[in-house]
């Protein structure tokens, strides 16, 4: 089930993520990570690993357009920062998930589905109810094994169930690029396999890309086509290890 390695992808295909001489961090004087060059292509699953506090999540936030890069160019889905990818093209699962705690599972997943399948009325910015979005949401919830929790508020779910809701939200969105920050933590092995199977199948069949932050280097090698290790240090800390490991499903 391993993905296509980078060499097999025709050169004409435009990368989904393209970083050039990017320096990221919260302070200009103290950049956390400096990336000379990084391209991620459709159909690729790329994992970022490294010790905690090194800037893995900050890199993901920068690619998501939530943090301004200190320098360099960040191009995501053909749009370079500060332009943003089109609505629904980018799915993001933050480390703390970013779910609406008082709302139901369906409400949360519908947020993603609406972003991907529904266009807002111009100037007003509101979406009309869409059967497609609702159907996609229910499908995504079922694929995560949460059909019985569909109307349950998020605050009543366990940590692992909440992670699955966040994943379902992104799958219902059908994005071109998924950015996931440790989305498999708190899950048991069986559920990890189930979630991973769903996500990898989605990425491979839709020619999307998945950039995932994973502190467990063993798991990162297992799931990814490429592993990027951010080493401790501020100048050129990127070490690329092509792995193309087989994903256990």
């Amino acid at each position: 089930m391993g993905g296509d390695s980078i060499e097999e992808i025709p050169w004409k295909i435009e990368p989904i993520i393209r970083l050039n001489d990017v320096s990221i961090g919260y302070k200009k004087e103290e950049p956390l990570v400096q990336i000379p060059n990084l391209e991620i292509f459709p159909g690729e699953i790329v994992a970022i690993a490294g010790p905690s506090g090194v800037g893995k999540s900050t890199l993901l936030k920068t690619i998501a357009g939530l943090i301004r890069p200190i320098s360099g160019s960040v191009e995501v889905c053909g749009k370079s920062f500060p332009n943003r990818p089109n609505r629904g093209e980018l799915g993001y699962i933050p480390q703390s998930l970013g779910l609406v705690r008082h709302a139901s599972v369906l409400h949360n997943v519908m947020l993603g589905a609406n972003a991907g399948h529904n266009n807002p009325i111009p100037f007003i910015g509101i979406c009309l109810p869409s059967f497609v979005a609702k159907k996609k949401s229910i499908e995504a919830i079922n694929s995560m094994g949460l059909e019985e929790k569909i109307s349950e508020p998020i605050r009543r779910l366990s940590g692992g169930q909440q992670r699955r809701v966040a994943t379902a939200r992104t799958l219902a969105q059908c994005p071109e690029l998924i950015l996931a920050d440790e989305f498999l933590s708190e899950l048991d092995e069986k559920t990890v396999d189930m979630v991973l199977k769903e996500v990898t199948t989605y990425v491979k069949s839709n020619n999307s890309a998945l950039l995932v932050v994973e502190h467990d280097i063993k798991r990162a090698k297992m799931m990814a086509d490429r592993l990027l290790v951010i080493d401790d240090g501020r100048v050129n800390p990127f070490i690329t290890e092509p792995t193309a490991m087989e994903v256990k499903i």
């Binding site: 980018l90 993001y92 910015g125 969105q173």
Partner: protein, 331 residues
Amino acid sequence: MIIFDFPRKLLGSFFAPLRSWLGICVLIFLFSILIFDGMINDWGRASQGLGNLVIFFTESLWPPDWSVLEPQAYPVCTVYPTFMDFTCSTAWIGMVETLKIAFVSTVFGAIISIPLSLLASRNLGFRKKISEFFDLLLLPVDSLLSDFLSEVLSYLPRLFLAAFRSLPSIIWAIFFVILVGFGPLAGVLAMTVYTVGYLGKLQYEAIEGMTKTPLDACEAMGLTKFEVAFKVVIPECANDLISQAIFMFEYNFRHGTVIGIVGAGGIGYYINLYLKFLQYDKVIAYLIIIFIVVLIIDFISIKARSYFTDEIGLNRPSWKSIFIPFSMNKR
């Protein structure tokens, strides 16, 4: 060297307790006592207060005169069955009118204040939009300048909210009585304006206190500000928003009794009437009724908020929970 260090060490050990929070609180308390003492010329008057209270309570206030719950000559009571005739009493009529004013003004105020508070909250505000706008215009604007401009823009709704609550509700009531005349309309307008200012501030503080990650996730997904506001922010802050709206209803109800004094309708009109005739026993009857209604509103608030929390015990609020703290209530 040791000689020079000695006084510093002595002072350090002397002021060491003041470095703690408790020390600072004690210092502030002592300071307030000092200011209070400066304002009072004759402490002897305070000692007479208790005696005066006993006389006032036993001779004028107590027992309450419950005749306020009986029908009056005017308006003519036409209620059937006869045991419902208390609905013709001044207490009932005034109370219902005050509740109506409080309810309508809270609803109107909340409807106006929610969009204003969403605009005023800096975590959803224009900060990013403005910096993106300048980047699109290819203007070499420093991020500090765009931060400053976004601050200024997010202050406009705050300015409105501050202006609305800068005057107390009774002054707004006088203002609207001058504009539209005596009666409940002036009361509703006055309470609505005050509600917008007060509730808006509480709401934007609640919104600014919410966790940032749902906003980040939605922003990355490309949801519009409108969707984020109504599908993420309001459900996420629902507990606070409901509690604040009910608190505001309770506040409007209590202040509805005050604005009646200036002719803006409600129970305050009757309280003012009996105060003028020095009929304090009737006034205390009104105050007891107000107290009971405030307790009922508090109960409704606990019940409403229980739908948004899973804390044990709060799902089944009881009358006891209004009077007794949760920890004691459990035993």
